[in-house]
Symmetry: C2
Subunit: 187 residues, 2 copies
DNA sequence: ATTATCGTGTGATTTGGATCACACGGTTTT
DNA sequence: AAAACCGTGTGATCCAAATCACACGATAAT
């Protein structure tokens, strides 16, 4: 649980007693490659904090095409957040691409911890603030940029993922076809 | 200031004393049509809570094309949030489309109120949660949908804006050309 | 060892939407 | 009242990226 504490304390310092309380809401889980943490149609009981490994949060349209909403690596949170927050059914899948470990916790954990510990509400607010800004940048990119620019932005932001993730999946994240993406760094 | 109180208390009840404290950070401002609240390059000192009127948050690319990141109407918050949170220069404009009034406050206000009043930190967390989910839906739409589907989703979500805002601007929000949008409901 | 499957590159063809161009009625301006 | 501008529709053309198709080496499966 030490990494959990460190992760939180980068934003919100906690006493030992407080961290014990936090800790009690989180469970550690090992995840194998190709394992799914969430499937479309599931109740989304948990959100996940990645300790290690790589994951993709994606959905599938009626024609079977896949679109990646989020990658996740160490230190990132992930879930089908729409379903998680509204406690509805998943419209997305979460798949493990590289084996690793995650912490998971319920919405109740988030809400109770936020209520009982002002520090934890602060922590979640700061995380959401960062996530909000990151998503807004993504929206701007999707609205106005060429495949070229999207690829460059991705390479700048996530050089590590560029190495570890098949290009096909990067294309699914960028909203570009596999072939077009391939031609970007060839030409 | 009554509408401000009501707006906050939908999420986080406050005592009179607490609200006084909150209130002291907000200022009311009348806004005329075509008035700009933020210009590209500005220091973004404020975020805005809309009381009335309609506003657009947009940016302009190197070719002069405009893209709308957000519309805002009564009860919505707006700013160039990336610049606001990071206290950097604006990359966007905020323009008033229909005259009205806004409250505004600084980042300091948000941070201090969050620190001093657990309730306010809760309020902001809930707002960010909703904003995060809404943005994620937008990302999904931009990634996978046709102009047709985007238009339909917009019409479903914001039937009022569809009436009050020129189609050209709706096209800029959807990431579609004016002409294509026009042909959607003709065909 | 041989056969699938996966990741990737690359050519040929198609196509949806952007762009360009113009029309026309409704406001606002002078 | 004439002139300029705005919002909107619509036809013609163009083009960037999707789609279709195939190749080929590398990894995984039988």
């Amino acid at each position: 649980m030490a990494p959990l504490r460190q992760h939180i304390e980068e934003i919100a310092p906690l006493t030992d007693a407080e961290f014990d309380q936090v800790q009690s809401f989180f469970t550690l889980k090992k995840v194998r490659k190709h394992q799914y943490l969430v499937n479309e149609g599931d109740e989304v009981k948990y959100e996940y904090l990645v300790l290690s490994g790589i994951y993709r949060v994606f959905y599938v349209d009626d024609q079977g095409k896949e679109y990646i909403v989020q990658f996740a690596k160490a230190g990132w949170w992930m879930s089908d957040y729409e379903a998680f927050f509204k406690q509805g059914k998943a419209s997305m899948f979460i798949e493990c691409l590289v084996a690793g470990e995650v912490f998971y916790a319920t919405l109740d954990a988030r809400e109770q911890l936020s209520k009982e510990l002002h520090q934890m509400e602060h922590f979640f607010r700061v995380k959401l603030t960062n996530g909000y800004v990151a998503q807004q940048q993504r929206i701007k990119l999707l609205l106005s940029s060429t495949p070229q620019q999207r690829y460059e932005a991705f390479a700048r932001l996530y050089p590590d993922l560029l190495q570890q993730v098949p290009k096909k999946l990067i294309a699914e994240y960028l909203g570009v076809s596999r072939e077009t993406l391939s031609r970007l760094y060839a030409g």
